[in-house]
Amino acid sequence: MAKITFQIGGVHPDDSKIARNRAIEVLPLPQTVYVSMAQHLGAPAKPVVAVGDHVKVGTVLAEPGGFISAFVHSPVSGTVKKIEPRKDIAGNNVPHIEIAVEGDEWEEGIDLSDTLVREIPTDRVAVLDKIKACGVVGLGGATFPTHVKLNPAPGSKAECLLLNGAECEPYLTSDFRIMLERSSEIVVGAAIMQMVLGGCPCKICIEENKPEAIKAMSEAVAELGYKDIEVVTLKKKYPQGGEKQLIAAVMKRQVGSGALPISVGAVVQNVATALAVYEAVQKNKPLITNTLTITGDCIPEEKQHNYLFRIGMPLSYIAEQAGGVPENAAKLISGGPMMGKAIANIDAATVKGSSSILYLSEAATKRGEESFCIRCGRCAQACPMGLEPFLLRRLYAAGDLEGLEKNAVQDCIECGCCLYSCPANIPLLDNIRMAKGQVMGVIRARAAAAKVAAEAAKAAESAAK
């Protein structure tokens, strides 16, 4: 099989998938869970329960707060104790619903059996509604509501569904484990999304460092025998799991600046999302569980785990179940070491998109002393979007927003390759992220102004008539 990858930039960090042989374990329930109202991209959800209400597993706790938003369901059964702001992993206040756990009573209609439901429903709208009602969001990192992504705007057609099992971030093994242990379910989930997108071919993309997953998925595909699903082996390179990089690698197409993947006919979904779609559509189970890896270079392999957790369990609870935070850990990260967020508050609750607790030693994470840019160009070589990070940083320091926009700072995917490759330890991404925020603000303001002007012109036109 020819191995393929994306063409521009990229880096090769050591993959350190230490926890790969640890089977998924189910965590016991804690006494209290804290369900965040902002665990998806877009508007926070609005609570629909009140303090004192009794909820079951799967009861709707909150409804979408806008078009790009998602339902939130109760991960446990018990009583709603409080609805108030609580600190998230960054230490910022976010509204949470606190539930005291009592027993484990599930809502009626949720199929808890292990039998594989292979028949694909044919009613596209009903399936989309179900995905929406079950609060499914993209579990690859961005937590974008799945029902929005699977329903492209009229006029655009999906030509290929890419199932993202690249898991290019070092250390993380949760996607790998579900591809091994739940491969058939993932394939059924992919077939469902294929149907929703109008029967386009589906490619399951896995990096070569996961041969067991490639084998398991290929076997599941062959056994289930759905049309147009195949497994593609990719060369190992970070950030292969980025949407645009995956499209470039598999479809050999480049997504334009500022455009969405659908503009080149691609829809990218994570394998964990496919599993969530399967559970939502075939089993009626809302997105209340996910898989998380406890790993890092500070703990031996036998202390590393892949856990099936209920959303809302505090990180500190999960860490304790795995034997507590190791003393030599200098940095705790939620997500991968390249793009994950540092955990500033270990008491924070897990969210739908939580994928790991990573313990890294000081040697692995301490930033070196910053020195001067010598224009070696390594950052520009490493950037998978073809940007020039050294230039962007200088333009940001000069406050040149126009120059930043011309040099496409808004296309930055914040993968961190520039920072990783810089021999002078210059905080390139930190600066570029700020610049991107400012330029996106300008672009959005301009779009809003254009919209207002267009509406005014329309109103004037209709008034003239």
């Binding site: 960054a90 230490g91 910022n92 500033a344 930033r367 905080p427 930190d430 992220r433 700020m434």
Partner: protein, 284 residues
């Protein structure tokens, strides 16, 4: 040799004369009529071009002030009333006296009061730090300590105190231009009335968390207990979102609230002698 010299001098002198004549006529032909008062106003301005007035610089301020029908929207915080009186005299306008202002840092989360819960080693600017997370203490509202305000101050009025990790305002140098207020991503710095002989009372905290949470994060936090609002006879204090705020226009500097505050979050500065001996650490 001499002829070359004479020729050179002659040509250059002739060229200079010709160009000066051309320039003379061009200057006459294309003369821009400008209100002479703009120059006069600019002359009395401080000339710092700090932008504290909201204009691009002193010249832009002068230009706009001359064209404006009154001086309601024009005030130079650096020059204050003396400069504005001169400007008003030149333009023949009235100007309302404004109390002098000063930048006030509303955070007392020093290293002793607010224990660090994590270590930050990213880019050392408050702006980037604030975009990444809530900060290296349990207080998501307080000072981040990277000194964006110090870098923004053109008058050298701000400095970081290495002991507390907080910025300190030099009242003599502060011109209340507001550059630090704009630079602070946490909106901690506020421009407040300087007060008679510099005496003023303010709540040195912006934490909106519930009392328990705030107190746990910082021993000098406002816990929103409302004792100060109860004791205030002038209705100068409001408590909103678990945070007290003192309206400096209503405050009569009686300092009853200072004595009442259980966490010492209310600061009184520049008073002749401390109300209580233990309140010596009030360095703003």
């Amino acid at each position: 040799m001499t002829t070359t010299l004479i020729w050179t001098i002659g040509i250059l002198a002739g060229l200079g004369l010709l160009l000066s004549v051309i320039l003379f006529f061009i200057a006459k032909q294309f003369k821009v009529e400008e209100d002479p008062r703009i120059d006069e106003v600019e002359k009395v301005m401080p000339g710092a071009n700090c932008g504290g007035c909201g204009f691009a610089g002193c010249r832009a301020f002068a230009d706009s002030a001359v064209k404006a029908p009154n001086l309601d929207n024009h005030y130079c915080p650096v020059g204050g009333d003396p400069v504005m009186k001169q400007v008003a005299a030149i333009l023949g306008y009235e100007v309302k006296a404004k109390a002098p202002m000063v930048a006030v840092v509303r955070c007392n989360g020093s290293c002793a009061n607010r224990p660090r819960t994590n270590i930050y080693d990213g880019a050392q600017t408050c702006k980037i730090k604030a975009a990444l997370y809530a900060g290296d203490t349990a207080c998501p509202f307080g000072c981040l300590g990277c000194g964006d305000c110090v870098a923004a101050c053109q008058f050298g009025a701000l400095s970081m105190d290495p002991k507390t990790g907080l910025p300190v305002v030099d009242e003599q140098k502060c011109t209340a231009c507001g550059a630090c207020v704009k630079a602070c991503p946490k909106s901690i710095i506020e421009l407040r009335n300087k007060g008679p002989r510099g005496m003023r009372v303010f709540v040195s905290c912006v934490n909106k968390d519930k009392g328990v949470v705030a107190r746990k994060a910082c021993s000098a936090a406002c816990i929103g207990c409302g004792k100060c609002a109860k004791v205030c006879a002038h209705e100068a204090i409001t408590v909103e979102n678990n945070l007290a705020y003192i309206d400096f226009n209503k405050c009569k500097l009686c300092r009853k609230c200072v004595a009442e505050c259980p966490t010492g979050a209310i600061h009184d500065i520049n008073f002749p002698k401390p109300l209580m001996p233990k309140k010596e650490e009030n360095n703003g």
